[in-house]
């Protein structure tokens, strides 16, 4: 069966017996797709140190909180760890008595931002954290949004009508002139001062939120000495739309269009990762043709994302023609995706159980033409950039990452592979048709920006190889099914609904009540072009999830920026930010 490899991905029995010898108060919670260990708060730090040093769980993946309003204590903290030698994951849960938890920044530095986010969203305090401020909202915001008693639309108490209306006019049925509180510039200044409490120089340079050089709205604060940076901090939250809270009131199919608006550059990869997680929870198996179509479109989106990265990175460093050439290739891929799914950018094409529609006629001819034509163009772009002396001077030895940084901060994706750590979810936990195709995973030796550039270009070449293999396989599967509608959790297609009454009744039930998932929890991740995108879903047996946590790769990758920029100039900051490749929709969710 396809998923047999992951039963060995969670912690195995001999390690559990070693843990039980040393800590007899540990209790085990085992599901089909996840294993959690419960420990109480007072021995949490010793327990995690034991896991890290003696059992090999060196790499920090994620930390989050869950709100149970009718239980006392109310909040539960969940930690995810990974062991690179044995390739196993483990989850650790603990109850936060008195709404506080000890901070684990002494063990893993990557937990600093995760704990700030938990304070912002839930109100859980962390003892021992060096500067506990709000992550996404401004400092004087009085509420904690992800608690269960806070409404989705917020507390609408300000009168803020639209400026384009005649007085007393109502343009639409869902318009209301009342709105949530909008902060003033003084509130934002307070936020900025709280981030850098002990600055040593005269000015703090704002590489501002609305700047064309940052890739989106990220706010950097540089504490400078002449031309060199001494301290740095990052304020996120300028695109925080509350997607995790929306998920708690939508069914599993209704949430699919929101997943592609998070990482909007490679939308199909995020959808595939989410639908894989939900399919494992509901125990649905998609047909063969759907798996090959999903793999092919994921790899096309990977090429799409790396082309955008190359275009904007070269534009920031001064090479303007590469921007136009890369966008010419992107237009071709967008034409392919528009012809198959309907919209160029945020296509919601994947459904639970398969894909929404079959491939139209002529699609495979166009893809074969693209596969033949693209490697020559890629060779041309490499000739312009790779051995150019200006490019070499700006990229070599800028932002060097070591292997220990990868484990401490939880870096994934190209950033981890440039330091020599072979962490690729397509290799470790292959879903869809990744275990049936041949490809190479490139690794770097030094870990600077030049390595990351070479790795991304090499990944584009490997993706074209995968697309060619998938197109060849799909030629022979023209008449197969593309969605598994005989399963009770899968929505029927339109032809079935028009012609049979049972399909219409099943459609009505699934849309009104949602897919009633069995009770359980799951953590599954997929390989985004930016890193590991993981979904942690808790289901209590209703049609919508109880808690959906999105572990975004770009959020943890951006955390190493303040460490690497110390002692360097502002010009290096542009190159470093480009090579870490953040997307603000995914870091802020």
């Amino acid at each position: 069966m396809q998923f047999s490899q992951e039963n060995s991905l969670w912690i195995n029995q001999e390690k559990i017996s070693k843990i039980k010898e040393k800590y007899p108060s540990v209790s085990i919670e085992k599901y089909d797709n996840a294993t959690f260990l419960h420990i109480d708060k007072s021995s949490l730090i010793d327990f995690l140190t034991f896991l890290k040093e003696n059992l090999g769980f060196k790499m920090f993946i994620d930390f989050t909180c869950v709100d149970y309003p009718f239980h006392n204590p109310r909040f539960q903290g969940v930690y995810f760890l990974y062991s690179p030698e044995d390739r196993q994951r483990v989850g650790v849960k603990t109850w936060a008595t008195d709404n506080t938890l000890p901070s684990i920044t002494s063990l893993w530095k990557g937990a600093k931002w995760a704990e700030r986010e938990a304070w912002d969203m839930f109100g859980v305090k962390f003892e021992g954290h060096e500067n506990l401020v709000r992550m996404f909202l401004w400092e004087s915001y009085p509420y904690h949004p992800l608690r269960k008693d806070f409404p989705l639309e917020g507390i609408q108490d300000t009168y803020l009508p639209s400026k384009n209306l005649r007085p007393e006019e109502n343009p639409a049925h869902n318009y209301t002139p009342y709105h949530t509180y909008v902060p003033t510039l003084e509130d934002l200044e307070e936020t900025q001062k709280a981030r850098m409490p002990n600055k040593s120089s005269q000015i703090v340079l704002n590489w501002g939120p609305l700047h064309p050089g940052t890739h989106g709205t990220i706010w950097f604060l540089f504490d400078m000495e002449g031309e060199y940076v001494k301290e740095c901090d990052i304020i996120l939250g300028q695109l925080h739309r509350g997607v995790e809270k929306i998920a708690e009131s939508r069914t599993y199919t209704q949430f699919i269009p929101y997943t592609d608006r998070m990482d909007y550059i490679s939308a199909l990869c995020s959808q595939v990762a989410y639908v894989n997680a939900v399919e494992k929870l509901l125990n649905v198996e998609p047909p063969e043709k759907a798996k090959w179509i999903r793999t092919m479109l994921c790899e096309l989106q990977r090429i799409n994302s790396h082309l955008l990265w190359l275009g904007t990175y070269a534009l920031d460093l001064g090479a303007l023609t590469i921007f136009l050439y890369c966008f010419r290739e992107r237009e071709k891929i967008m034409d392919i995706i528009e012809g198959i799914s309907g919209i160029r950018l945020n296509s919601s094409y994947i459904r639970i159980g398969g894909v929404a529609k079959d491939l139209p006629e002529g699609a495979l001819d166009v893809i074969k033409h693209f596969v033949k034509d693209f490697p020559k163009k890629l060779q041309e772009y490499e000739t312009i950039l790779t051995t150019n002396r200006v490019w070499l001077k700006r990229n070599i030895n800028v932002g060097t990452i070591s292997e220990e940084d990868v484990y401490q901060y939880g870096l994934t994706g190209v950033v981890a592979r440039s330091a020599g750590v072979p962490y690729d979810i397509r290799m470790i936990q292959p879903t869809d048709a990744y275990d049936k195709v041949d490809f190479d995973v490139p690794l770097g030796k030094v870990g600077d920006c030049y390595d990351r550039y070479l790795l991304r270009v090499e990944e584009m070449k490997q993706s074209i190889k995968i697309v060619a293999q998938c197109a060849e396989k799909l030629e022979k599967m023209k008449e197969d099914k593309y969605i598994a509608t005989e399963n009770p959790y899968v929505l029927p297609t339109l032809d079935e609904v028009f012609n049979s009454i049972e399909a219409m009744v099943k459609d009505f039930n699934l849309r009104i009540y949602g897919e009633q998932a069995p009770e359980g929890e799951i953590y599954l991740s997929g390989e985004n072009p930016r890193g590991e995108l993981g979904f942690y879903i808790i289901s209590k047996g209703e049609g919508h999830p109880y808690r959906l946590r999105i572990r975004s790769g770009a959020f943890y990758n951006l955390q190493i920026f303040p460490e690497l920029i110390k002692g360097r100039t502002v010009a290096d900051a542009v190159a470093l930010l480009g090579s870490l490749d953040p997307v603000v929709g995914e870091t802020d969710r």
Binding site: E153, G154, P183, L185, L188, G242, K245, F327, L345
Partner: protein, 179 residues
């Protein structure tokens, strides 16, 4: 052409020339926040060129006359956006691109601003999620039509309230000058 005051022959010709110059060389200060920014970059690239219409993207608001707000505007960013709008010199216009900046879009949550027209006045709304580059170019052409018929700003009695387009627009003919 609705000229508000009766200025005589010489000044009306000057007004016409100024209005022709303003609408054929709109320089945007692009505020690219989210997914609609990617479609705006595609409109500026070589397949759907904006340079043919005279549009050059400037980085600073002090050198631009139109503000294209592309992407979701969050409550935290709203005062900064108002500061940028105040720094632009007159005459200025605003295009709100996409559903998120027009009415809040598909995010009716605690942290999203439900429509950017609650803080600055908007001239053209372009719906879509995201609007295709051809739809954005149609929106820019609607702004050019508005500049031609009024000098600047909005006049309440003259904007028709509900004109919902119900058919796809035909191709325009090229004039004998070639554009």
């Amino acid at each position: 052409m609705a000229i508000k005051h009766n200025s005589g022959i010489i000044l009306t010709t000057v007004e016409e020339v100024l209005s022709w110059g303003r609408r054929n060389s709109l320089w945007p200060a692009s505020i690219g926040l989210a997914c609609c920014a990617i479609e705006m970059m595609h409109t500026a690239a070589s397949r759907f060129d904006t340079d043919r219409l005279g549009i050059i993207f400037r980085g600073s608001p002090r050198q631009s006359d139109v503000l294209i707000v592309a992407g979701t505007v969050v409550n935290k960013v709203a005062p900064m956006l108002k500061l940028i709008y105040d720094q632009m010199p007159d005459p200025k216009w605003v295009i709100s691109m996409g559903g998120c900046s027009s009415v809040g879009g598909p995010f009716p949550t605690y942290s999203t601003l439900q429509g950017v027209d609650r803080i600055i006045p908007v001239d053209v709304y372009v719906p879509g999620c995201p609007p295709t580059p051809q739809a954005l170019l149609w929106g820019i052409m609607q702004l050019q039509k508005k500049i031609k018929e009024k000098k600047e700003g909005k006049v309440w009695d003259e904007i028709p309230v509900r004109e919902v387009p119900t058919a796809s627009q035909p191709l325009l003919e090229k004039s004998p000058f070639g554009f």
